[in-house]
């Protein structure tokens, strides 16, 4: 589990995708639903080189094309930002199991 890091108003966290088929439709939907439960602005990217996108948008998350073994990085700011990032990281770490 990667620790949560706070910088420039953002809370950061990251976890590696375990599913051999990558971030396919069902986990992408679970991820956005989880992000939407928080008031914070939550963003996600696939690896250091990726662009930050809105973690509440299933269309944007799908277009990350995040594959197996890739690191999903999260950042959030605003109310409950820490809880949001912790929940996102935990979701990826338990391979999107409920």
């Amino acid at each position: 589990m990667s620790g949560l890091v706070k910088e420039a108003g953002y809370v950061h966290g990251a976890a590696v995708i375990q599913d051999p088929t990558g971030l396919h439709a069902r986990p992408a939907v679970k991820l956005t639903k989880s992000a939407k439960r928080h008031g914070a602005e939550v963003e996600v990217r696939a690896g250091e080189a990726g662009n930050w996108v809105n973690a509440k948008s299933p269309n944007a998350v799908m277009k990350l094309k995040a594959g197996h073994g890739e690191e999903l990085q999260f950042r959030a700011r605003g109310e409950d930002a820490e809880a949001a990032v912790a929940q996102m990281v935990a979701l990826v770490e338990r391979d999107f199991q409920e």
């Binding site: 051999p20 088929t21 439709a25 956005t32 509440k56 299933p58 269309n59 799908m62 073994g69």
Partner: protein
Amino acid sequence: MTGPGGERVLHGISAADGLVIGGVVVDVPAAPDGVSGANNETARPSFDAALAQAREELATLITGADELAGEILEFQEALLEDDDLLDPVKAAIAEGKTAAEAWSAHLDNEVAIYRSGDDAYLAARAEDLLDLKQRVLRALSGTSLATAEVAPGSILLAQDLTPSRFIEIDWSRVAGAAICGGSKTSHVAILARARGVPLVVGLQGDLSSVASGVQALLDADRGRLVIAPSPETCAGARKRMALHEEEVESAAALLEKPAVTAGGEPVSVQINVDEPSILNDISPDAVDGIGLTRTEFLFHQGRLPDEETQYAAYLRIAQWAGGRPVTIRTLDAGGDKPIAGVTVDGESNPFLGLRGLRLSLVRDKLFRTQLRALARAAAEAPLRVMVPMVTVPEEMERVRDLFDEVLADLGHEGVAHGHPPLGMMVEVPAAALMAEQFMADFYSIGSNDLVQYVTASARDNPALTALADPRNPAVLELIGRTVAAARKRQVDVSLCGDMASDPELVPLLLDSGLRSLSVAPAQVARVKLAVSRYGRPAGQEA
């Protein structure tokens, strides 16, 4: 093409087997220009209403959907709640576009993004966007989706069929479908196979002249639709339908039973895995293991997976198999499977070039990484490692030396690892002729390349279909020799090419002495049925 008695045959590709004789129902899609014009003042409310209606329809569909259908529908439902997707459409409507125009233009744009690049999964998701586009357009135009008035046993004829449209059609009334779009690997094809709905995709020819109500024969086994079939054509089809029905019933009963010939000899039936998601479609109890895992999926989209990634992927596949043997083939790049950064560009004849093991031996670091991951996974599960495209015995010796080095390194590092058997694909004629001389722990015959190399006929050239014949005696001779070499050396031999998945070819393979086949997951039951009939006294029908 017009045949006897005014028959007209439209050719396509078989996506899900089956035969239907019935009346045609032509399905007309909603088009943005067909939507009644909404002016600026009413555009927003009607768009919101259409979104609400689409949401309601999807929610109803999801309630009755199974796992596969549910995943497709949930993604679409989530898109209807996606402000990043909807806001630009609302903005375009505010600027004066009609709801239908704005929605179509934006979704088409997104579809183009999904389809650009080489991500096959994302490209397939473009179908979901098009599906959603149609659903909202239908809601905007008030087009009814009901198929309730359709006569039972009808054949649906459509330009294309979206996954959610497929799911809401009452397939107890509609008996099969033929569509111009789609492919064998599209979502609709997968859904049709899973539900046993006969489906022809990629139908060619002019559909505009085909009217609803005309009689037709949907021959999905052969990938064609016969409009106004002659009485002779219908009689022939009815005979095949009766046989087909018996086959399906008999095969289904055998799915989870061990494969045994009529003479009581057991035959191992394993599966080929191209991509781990296929394992969701079959129970491990139906198979004797995985006879071939193609590891190219790990290298898609220019990825070079590290050792941990590969280790995790191999372990996952082995976990599914639950202790049954799992054969994993090292990277088989080159030929028709180029991989950016790994394969060599500009070869004049890639099928006779630096591919398979030849390539792995010059990509030392890449190969060692894969062998390390395999050896580590072999500590946890009964894995077997197989190398492709072996031509001469010296190559096998080089692999063995390299593998020994990798195992020694792991030992020095104190990393847990196994000593998996190291086998070879037999697909180059030189290897098949001299199989006995190769120090392989097992053989697996790759019939696709073997047929292509023995007959010197490219497998993707339709003009050579007749020549690229797996029944060619020279091919069967080489299979027989490989089996004999394995017996002599007392090692396992199996066949993992397309030949093993074809029930009609199974008797020939059993004749050659093979008792282990690795087949496409969807063909397991039919192959077991073919095995059960092997050696049955002539004239005995059941």
